[in-house]
């Protein structure tokens, strides 16, 4: 393997910052908007997706030389579905309450385009280690994205964080935040923030070159 450490670090950071699945690529919006009513749900969904992403990419990468291209999508779907089923059992074993809260969205990880996208675009063309590193980065990026929605929605919509009450008894929860529209509002606000930052950085750069 010829990769240097910096390359691997870039591989990992790609999913967290430059190609963050939620804020940059806006992929996987269905679970993003649906399960982020609380930080715990967001975190567990993020971790479940990360696990599926890493395991599937590892297997896809290991099998990349023996999978004929005609049947690659079918193969990837079977592999992804396998790990989703495993995660499904695992979450049932950990907590049925969490399982109920995440509901159908655990099974829907199968059709999360982040995973199929990674398998097709990255894992099928790269050796095991870079593939897993990249998948881990994407998974962590996805988890961070979910968490940034989940925490905001839980704080505003229920006045708690990870189930711990933050405000006094007189806190009047902003209920719409835990309802589906709240997901769009919070996602929109985050995207706005990132777009504003990007534009400001661009303007600064332009000014700097202008002065020089």
């Amino acid at each position: 393997m010829t990769e240097t450490t910096t390359n691997r670090w870039d591989e990992f950071m790609e999913g967290i910052w430059k190609q963050n699945p939620i804020f940059v690529m806006t992929l996987g919006m269905c679970p993003t908007l649906a399960v982020t009513v609380s930080a715990v749900n967001a975190l567990s969904m993020g971790l479940a997706t990360t696990f599926v992403l890493m395991a599937s990419c590892a297997l896809v990468s290991m099998m990349r030389n023996i999978v004929p291209k005609e049947v690659r999508i079918a193969t990837y779907i079977v592999i992804i579905a396998t790990f989703v089923t495993s995660v499904d059992y695992l979450i049932q074993a950990i907590s049925l309450r969490l399982y109920d809260a995440l509901g159908a969205f655990i099974q829907l990880i199968v059709v999360n385009c982040i995973i199929l996208g990674r398998a097709e675009a990255h894992a099928s063309k790269n050796p095991l280690l870079p593939a897993v590193t990249n998948a881990l980065g994407m998974g962590v990026g996805f988890t961070i994205g979910l968490l940034s929605l989940g925490t905001v929605r839980e704080i505003l919509g229920s006045g708690t964080l990870f189930g711990v009450p933050l405000f006094g008894e007189h806190f009047q929860p902003w209920v719409i935040m835990v309802l589906p529209p709240g997901g769009f509002f919070v996602l929109g606000a985050w995207l706005l923030l990132f777009a504003w930052r990007a534009r400001r950085a661009q303007r600064k750069l332009a000014e700097a070159t202008h002065h020089a």
Binding site: E70, T82, S86, Q92, D100
Partner: protein
């Protein structure tokens, strides 16, 4: 399928089948492993969830004994035995003095996405259902899953009438779910508007379970009256 799109290197069908077979075999092994590995924990969790819902629908209960209502019409304590064929499992809740305060049983019916399984509490003194709790469901978050939290809907299960006919063969009135806002009788369930399918599933499930269990349970209530 892709003879036209992939003109360069044709993969022989055998290779495709071989790869798919290999992938299927590996994936099958992984799933079986995951199932076996988590089986004990999942069963323990489910048992705990059932016990929790029994105490929820019979809140006065201090202890719970599992019973089986046999097809012949007898009720026997379950012990550690598995539920025999055709028998119905239910739970008798006793207060601190060992007096029967209520009976809990499971009901299930097909909802919008999957079977909605609930636990309901039956009270012998009023011959009514008092309280339900959801054991498992897959209903749409924010729509069907309101049966867990909608206060107006849950108010249906404050003394829902399940009296038996005089000959104890069936319920005097079937439990039915009616359209939101049209409940007139104590054996009707007022559906949640927007979640009618799930509300109906709850009604159908309770009706089926009560029709099956109560004709066997009620004649034997004296047997259960105090904790043995």
């Amino acid at each position: 399928m892709s003879e036209q799109t992939m003109p360069a290197a044709q993969t022989p069908t055998v290779a495709m089948i071989r790869t798919l077979g290999l992938v299927a075999a590996i994936c099958g092994l992984i799933i079986v492993g995951a199932y076996e590995g988590t089986y004990d924990a999942v069963t323990a969790n489910k048992k705990l969830a059932i016990e929790r819902s029994v105490y929820q629908v019979v809140p006065e209960a201090k202890s719970v004994v599992e019973y089986h209502a046999l097809p012949g019409g007898d009720v026997v304590p379950a012990g550690d035995a598995k539920t025999p064929d055709g028998a119905i499992r239910f739970f008798a809740g006793y207060d601190a003095d060992g007096k029967l305060v209520g009976v809990a049983a499971e009901a299930g019916a097909k909802g919008y996405a999957d079977t909605v399984r609930i636990m309901f509490g039956y009270r012998p003194d009023c011959q009514c259902i008092n309280g339900i709790s959801v054991v498992s469901m897959r209903e749409t978050p924010g729509v069907g899953d309101k049966i867990r939290s909608d206060k107006k809907f849950l108010a249906n299960f404050d003394k829902l009438d399940v009296r038996l006919k005089d000959d104890m063969s069936a319920l005097a009135h079937d439990v039915v779910t009616v359209k939101h806002g049209t409940k007139t009788d104590p054996w009707q369930i007022d559906a949640i508007s927007g979640a009618t399918i799930t509300s109906r599933a709850v009604g159908r499930g309770i009706d089926a379970a009560a029709q099956a269990l109560l004709p066997k349970l009620v004649p034997n209530l004296n047997k259960l009256a105090s904790k043995s």
